[in-house]
């Protein structure tokens, strides 16, 4: 079943097409890697799907429901969350607060009284232990190392409890032990039946983690399908993998 679909999706920046009539489908409950050379439109695709950049044309459907437009304010309600290539945290807050602000109920009185604080604190602890940041819980997010910031952003995405996770290069710049943590997170998300869209350059990681691959070129779809078969296609090998 397709949980995310695009049809003739386009995004232009000052007349330059970053996405050019892109039609593709993302399978529910699978890890789909999006690959392609720099400038092929991978990050733009994630930006459009998460409402960060408004589409110029085409259609997007989530769980079969066509959306006229998608804005950053809508994505949480559609069960979508994301991380960024350049990590974006709430730097004024400590590590724990970065998760609590996502976990706590968001109604008028809950906002003042912050109810169910214990339950949320337990969930935050669980997530911080998962990404090995529990010891850093009282430190300001802005003061963490690059890798720790990436891990915290991933934990924050997990805190949202979304169905669809858009990860923009989550492994980039991580130490090997941190890569293992993120691998574990992705495996667990798949086991839980969540949908993951993963922008990644490392082919070994893609072969190990992705069920499907979408290959972009110049904002267009070059190939899509099961990982091994798609990566083995001649045009993909020749043009993008250098193999």
């Amino acid at each position: 079943m397709l949980i995310l679909e695009t049809k003739d999706l386009s995004k232009r920046y000052d007349g330059v097409a970053a996405l050019d009539g892109l039609s593709l489908g993302i399978e529910a409950g699978a890890v789909t890697a999006v690959i392609g050379p720099n400038g092929s439109g991978k990050s733009t695709l994630v930006n459009v799907l998460s409402g960060v950049a408004p589409k110029t044309g085409g259609r997007i459907a989530v769980s079969g429901v066509a959306l006229g437009r998608i804005t950053a304010s809508d994505v949480a309600a559609y069960g979508i969350t994301r991380t960024f290539q350049e990590v974006r945290l709430f730097n004024q807050m400590n590590v724990m607060e970065n998760l609590l602000v996502v976990l706590t109920e968001k109604n008028v009185f809950g906002a003042i009284l912050e109810r169910h604080a214990e339950k949320h604190a337990r969930r935050a602890e669980e997530l911080l232990r998962k990404v090995n940041l529990w010891e850093k819980r009282s430190e300001l997010a802005g003061g963490l190392s690059y890798g720790q910031r990436k891990l915290l952003e991933i934990a924050r995405a997990l805190a949202s409890g979304a169905d669809i996770y858009l990860f923009d290069e989550p492994f980039a710049g991580l130490f090997p032990e941190m890569v293992k943590i993120v691998e574990g997170v992705l495996v667990e998300l798949r086991r839980e039946g969540k949908t993951v869209v993963l922008i990644e350059h490392n082919m070994d990681l893609i072969r190990a983690l992705a069920d499907r691959v979408v290959v972009l070129d110049g904002g267009k779809l070059l190939a899509e399908g099961a990982t091994a078969a798609t990566l083995g296609r001649r045009e993909v090998l020749e043009a993008y993998l250098g193999e």
Binding site: S50, G51, V52, T71, A72, S73, V75, A76, A77, T81, R82, F84, R88, L89, F90, N91, Q92, M93, E97, L100, V101, V102, T104, E105, K106, V108, G110, A111, I112, L113, E114, R156, A159, S160
Partner: protein, 288 residues
């Protein structure tokens, strides 16, 4: 008798007034990243709302009239955000556009107040004369004591609100990265609405206390705004403690600056302080 205790008292009173403007101004700036010049008009509106109630309903409790004035200023700020700024944000208006719009809003509110209440100077009074206390050699009125106490209590309260409540965390999240705040499911428009309500209500309280202390005029908002903005910039734009520290410094520099010279130099001293900070420490005392 030494003039020093009175100068210190005057400095603290001025600091209290400026803090009541700067605290709300900084809170709104933190969430929206624009200079809301209409903030000065919230102080005027609060003062005149209390004045209207005290004039219209003889015998009304002064505290109740003041509380309703504060509520009115808060609701006015919230309504302005919904009607004007939110619409501009939807249209992706730049901060310059928002600033110009806020100047327009300020002018309209000031003109409406002048039309309803005339441009005459009005006194805000609860009936009884303001008690005067002698504290450490300085004469201080009851209103001025309330002003200083309110500024301290509100600064501490806002600090707690931002640190300890979900709303506070949401405000800090919006302040850090509004787009990401939206993506993680924070209703940023609701948060900004709250910020306008709280910030404007604090300014309204400032206007009411100034009304009791020195009286009301439709144009009073501009001088309050200017002092509030200077205090914000000096203390650090967008921070609660910055607003309080900036107000304190401004109050003392202004009042001690005119120790040996004419009081007419007060404005020049205030703006000199601003220029010194803009040149040598543009981030203010507390950097965000």
């Amino acid at each position: 008798m030494s003039i020093l205790p009175q100068l210190i008292a005057n400095s603290l009173i001025a600091a209290g007034t400026y803090a009541l403007i700067a605290l709300g101004f900084n809170l709104i700036y933190a969430a929206t990243k624009f200079f809301n010049l209409a903030h000065g008009a919230m102080a005027t509106a609060g003062g005149y709302a209390a004045f209207f109630l005290l004039q219209s309903f003889v015998g009304i409790n002064v505290v109740l009239a003041a509380a309703l004035g504060v509520l009115f200023a808060g609701l006015l700020g919230w309504a302005l955000d919904r009607a004007v700024y939110r619409e501009l944000r939807k249209r992706k208006a730049s901060n310059t556009v928002l600033l110009v719009a806020s100047l327009g809003v300020f002018t309209v509110i000031q003109a409406v107040i002048a039309m309803i209440f005339t441009s005459q100077f009005q006194t805000l009074s609860g009936g009884a004369a303001d008690s005067v206390y002698q504290i450490g050699g300085a004469a201080v009125t009851e209103t001025q004591v309330i002003m200083i106490a309110a500024a301290v209590a509100i600064a501490a309260g806002l600090g707690l609100l931002l640190k300890k409540t979900l709303l506070g965390k949401e405000v800090r999240a919006v302040s850090d990265d509004e787009e990401v705040a939206k993506i993680v499911g924070i209703n940023t428009e609701r948060v900004i609405g709250w910020v306008f309500f709280i910030g404007s209500a604090i300014a309204g309280l400032g206007g009411i206390l100034v009304g009791f202390d020195t009286g009301l005029q439709p144009t009073m908002g501009m001088s309050l705004l200017l002092r509030g903005v200077i205090a914000s910039i000096v203390g650090g734009v967008g921070t609660v403690y910055g607003a309080a520290a900036g107000a304190l410094l401004l109050g003392f520099v202004e009042n001690f600056g005119i120790w040996k010279i004419s009081g007419e130099w007060k404005d020049a001293i205030a703006f000199s302080l601003l220029i010194v900070f803009l040149v040598f420490r543009p981030q203010g005392i507390f950097k965000r």
